[in-house]
Amino acid sequence: MPEPILQLHGLDAHYGDFQALYGVDMKVMEGEVLAIIGSNGAGKTTLMRSITGLLSNGPAQIKYRGVDISAQRADEIAVQGLAMVPEGRQLFPSLSVRENLMIGAQVGRKGPWDLDAVYKLFPILEERKDQQSTSLSGGQQQMVAIGRALMANPDLILFDEISLGLAPIIIKDIYEALPGIIGEGMSAIIVEQDISKALSVSSRVYCLQEGRVSLEGASDTVSREDISRAYFGIE
């Protein structure tokens, strides 16, 4: 029986007076790929920011490997093997491609991912290694963002809308690379607007609607009607 690597209990999140998440319960099992879907503004990115410690959380709302991490800082959480590919890529503009990758390894975790492994996965990045990250195309920037997260050799990796703003052909490439990335016992949460993409790569799916979990199920059995109801709130 695999253990959950991540467990959320009644997670709330606020931006000032505005509440963005309401009592989210969720769990990610060891080695599992979880998908999170939901319309714009549903709270998906907020959820990622809460998990990674960029937003402050209430006590005992987030457990990672059985330990309450709700009060920890983002950098303390990162060194425990939780990495994120953030929405909109958010590379460091004053760092070269290579430096953007290197800084991902700053957490100092051992594992299969190093510069060579990332260059093998995305050969174009080796050609562009000395360029400023902002000079790359959107798809290449996304590769850097993914590589940067992998360099941390995480146990749990969060992908926040990695296909956003990319050409379909690039999206296809990136999704084809995903199984190779997530293999080797890593767990993952994939936030994705494209529902069929999300379902095809995950074993379970959660749908968020206005800050609440509106659906939870196995990706291969959940029905289209359930999803559109959970997604749009149409009865």
Binding site: R73, D75, P86, P93, S94, E99, I103
Partner: protein, 286 residues
Amino acid sequence: MDWLNAIVQGTLLGGLYALFAAGLSLIFGVMRLVNIAHGDMIILAAYLGLTVTTATGLHPLLALVLVVPTMGVIGYVLQRGLLNQTLGDDLLPPLLVTFGLSVIIQNGLLEVYSADPQKMDAGALETASVAVGGLNLGVLPVLTFAVAVAVIWGLQWTFYHTALGRAFRAVSDNQDIAQLMGLNRRHIFGVAMALALGVTAIAGILLGIRTSFDPSIGGGRLIFGFEAVIIGGLGNLWGTLVGGVILGVAQTVGAKIDPGWQILSGHLAFLLILAIRPNGLFPRIS
């Protein structure tokens, strides 16, 4: 020859101004903090140097071995204990707090050392000079300029070729994402301030050998440092050196025309460059 002499002396003086400015430029670059107390910290370092030299009999340049790390520790503790708490979206709190620090440092120095001007005794170094092509160059100004170049080269190298420099740039680019890379920005900021005050220590000691100082002159050094940073362009350390040199040359050339014009002509050069290039000559940060 006289004019050439003024320009060369001004260039060398610019090295000192660049040292005043380097620390300011560094902390602004990393954490967007404008340190109003920077000039007073330079003077604090000069007084620390004075205490060390009088207590131990060390040469002021050797006193750097103690004063640089002391200022570094002060910088780290100050940043972690106080200044980090003021950083956020609002630029006003750090300005107010460092202004308050400036007042506190000045009054503290007055209390401990009194208002009497002091000077550090560097022996023969103060008067030694070398003749170069008909010009008589003071060894101390030449040394100061060489130190400024070395310090800026060292900072530049740290910024672009070390993991620490990469962390500085990453935190400066995007604090949140840098945290996700396992970088604790509060610690990184502390290290940046430690480095900045280490440079400040060098500036303070060289100042204290060159001229007499008292607790009230920090504000003036802050202005020169600011002007050098702005002339050179924000975020560019070599630019800061150029800014210091332009300021120094403007001052010595102004003083050559009329001794009363020294400071004024520096400010005028600053305003002129601001009017032509509002972002300075070589800006890296907009």
